[in-house]
């Protein structure tokens, strides 16, 4: 779909600056997501290229993950002064993004993308095997393969073998890897963005610090090396946690730096199972008053829940790795969770939204 400059100049729906504030007074300290009512959200991503030189283009991730049990992407609209704006799809993983190109004479390139989606809490009862949807051979191959930064041999395989030695079921292997990450890694507040997910470097260096893109990629790598299909889902926190966990939700309507990736592991008796060991370490580091011990009840509740469930206050963009952005001069991106752009000066720094410039806002939509 190619949109002409005239058409894209039509203003989309105005983005309300207010966001419904949940009743935090009713918040509980027990973290136990269960599937319930669906919630509708809208995000607005606005790019204003601060120093446009030469031909400018941008790639804005769109919600393109889909699971009938907990995530439904909706309509995307955009307003821009670009020459072209086109939804494109990564052929390998199906990740969608808006590819925008401006003319060389555009002095103030901008694009504003509004995305709608519905989601809800998710929980898999791991005590009750069920006949979930099977994984095709092609999917099994895709989700057990190495990526550029997630090798499945060498130190990753050696570590996975050590962790899962003696485990007799896939569920036990998956849980052991989860517990190992919770117990052996840490959230490093100095890591830029969400980290890059260089799994081999993490393990070989022995410095197991990082953020979600590191620690949950480590889960994916170890699971794949143990023969379990697994995948990162790259996304964005869009609302506070209704369980009162300050560290596990968006703090305000501005979610420019609220990117968060989670992981899933496929177990044949349960289907895709949600896991998020990185968020357990986030609770330990950040949940007030901070630096909580692993024995703290809030940590224990999150640790118990985040193997098998997670809260629906989060947008799932895609599960893609090593994406070649069409038309780009720069290299493949490790994952597509941040807006990307290029000018004559090269690829802009997606981890520096104030220099880029981009801003992301989110609100819950109540019909």
């Amino acid at each position: 779909m190619v949109i002409s400059r005239r058409k894209v100049l039509q203003a989309g729906a105005a983005f309300a600056a207010t966001m419904a504030c949940p009743n935090l007074a009713a918040a509980q300290s027990i973290f136990a997501p269960k599937p319930g009512a669906w919630r509708n959200f809208q995000t607005m991503t606005r790019l204003e290229i601060g120093e446009p030189t030469g031909r400018v283009q941008a790639w804005v991730p769109l919600p393109s993950f889909s699971d009938p049990e907990w995530f439904r992407p909706g309509e995307n609209k955009w307003t821009t002064n670009a020459e072209t704006a086109e939804i494109k799809r990564d052929p390998k993983y199906g990740a969608e993004f808006l590819h925008v190109t401006w003319g060389e004479r555009e002095p103030a390139p901008f694009v504003e993308v509004t995305s709608n989606f519905s989601t809800r809490d998710r929980s898999v009862d791991l005590s009750k095997p069920r006949n979930g949807p099977a994984l095709s051979e092609a999917e099994r191959e895709l989700y057990t393969s190495a990526t550029d930064l997630i090798p499945t041999g060498g130190v990753v395989k050696e570590t996975a073998d050590r962790i899962t030695a003696g485990a007799t079921t896939d569920l036990e292997k998956a849980r052991r890897i989860y517990e190992w990450i919770v117990e052996n890694t840490y959230r490093d507040p100095k890591t830029r963005g969400c980290g890059v997910g260089d799994v081999a470097s993490l393990l070989k260096s022995g410095n197991l610090g990082g953020k979600c893109a590191d620690l949950n990629a480590l889960y994916v790598g170890l699971a794949r090396a143990a023969g379990l299909p697994a995948r990162d889902i790259y996304g964005l926190r869009v609302a506070p946690s209704k369980f009162g966990y300050k560290s596990l939700g968006a703090g305000s309507e501005t979610v420019t730096k609220a990117q968060h990736c989670r992981a899933e592991v496929f177990l044949s008796e349960f289907g895709w199972v949600p896991v998020d060991p990185a968020d357990v370490r986030k609770v330990m580091l950040e949940e007030p008053p901070g630096k909580l011990p692993i024995s703290n009840p809030k940590v224990a509740a999150a640790r118990k829940a985040l193997f098998g469930s997670w809260e629906g206050n989060w947008l799932a963009y895609n599960v893609a790795h090593d994406i070649a952005l069409p038309g780009a001069k720069g290299p493949k991106v490790e994952f597509l969770m941040y807006p990307q752009a290029e000018t004559a000066a090269g690829r802009l720094d997606s981890l520096d939204p104030d220099a880029f410039v981009y801003r992301i806002a989110a609100k819950e939509v109540t019909a």
């Binding site: 490093d188 830029r192 890059v196 470097s201 720094d349």
Partner: protein, 159 residues
């Protein structure tokens, strides 16, 4: 920075493998290769700004060159990071050696680098003499002694 025993594990002697080719543009657009460093021991150093131990090691390498720029050279190779991010990083923390761009990780793969930081020390014949996985303090006396040893074997002056 590692203690002595850990240092020995990281500072691994290599039996004179010839270094792979290296030709990359630097942060300012100039082409760089190993031949331009003729007569010097060259440290080919792979790093990323997101890699926390890499940051103090860049400062350590800068101090090493400040003291020995007649006999040593560093080619620092940024792995898959946007040049604009690097420019801002090095404006705040300048270094005295060129920063080369390995945009698509081709050099990293060619050199068999599986973790960052990683450093290869090449002698005058461009043979790899040391392979360092992880960060080290390049000003430690035992590290300097290893570099001086390579310099002596190549008939150079000690420093």
């Amino acid at each position: 920075m590692p203690e002595a025993s850990a240092l020995e594990r990281r500072l691994r002697a290599v039996s004179s493998e010839v270094a792979p080719a290296l030709a990359l543009a630097d942060l300012h657009g100039s082409q760089r290769d190993l031949e331009q460093q003729a007569g010097k021991i060259v440290l080919v150093h792979f790093f990323a700004t997101w890699c926390e131990p890499c940051r103090p090691e860049l400062a350590s390498l800068s101090k090493l060159i400040a003291r020995n720029d007649d006999t040593l050279a560093v080619l620092a190779i940024s792995v898959a990071e946007p040049p604009l991010r690097l420019q801002r990083f090095f404006e705040k923390t300048p270094v005295n050696f060129p920063v080369l761009l390995d945009a698509d990780r081709a050099a990293m793969k060619a050199w068999g680098v599986s973790m960052l930081p990683a450093t290869f020390v090449l002698d005058h014949k461009r043979a790899v003499r040391l392979h360092v996985e992880g960060d080290i303090d390049w000003l430690r006396p035992d590290v300097l002694a290893r570099l001086q040893e390579i310099e002596r074997e190549n008939g150079g002056n000690t420093w």
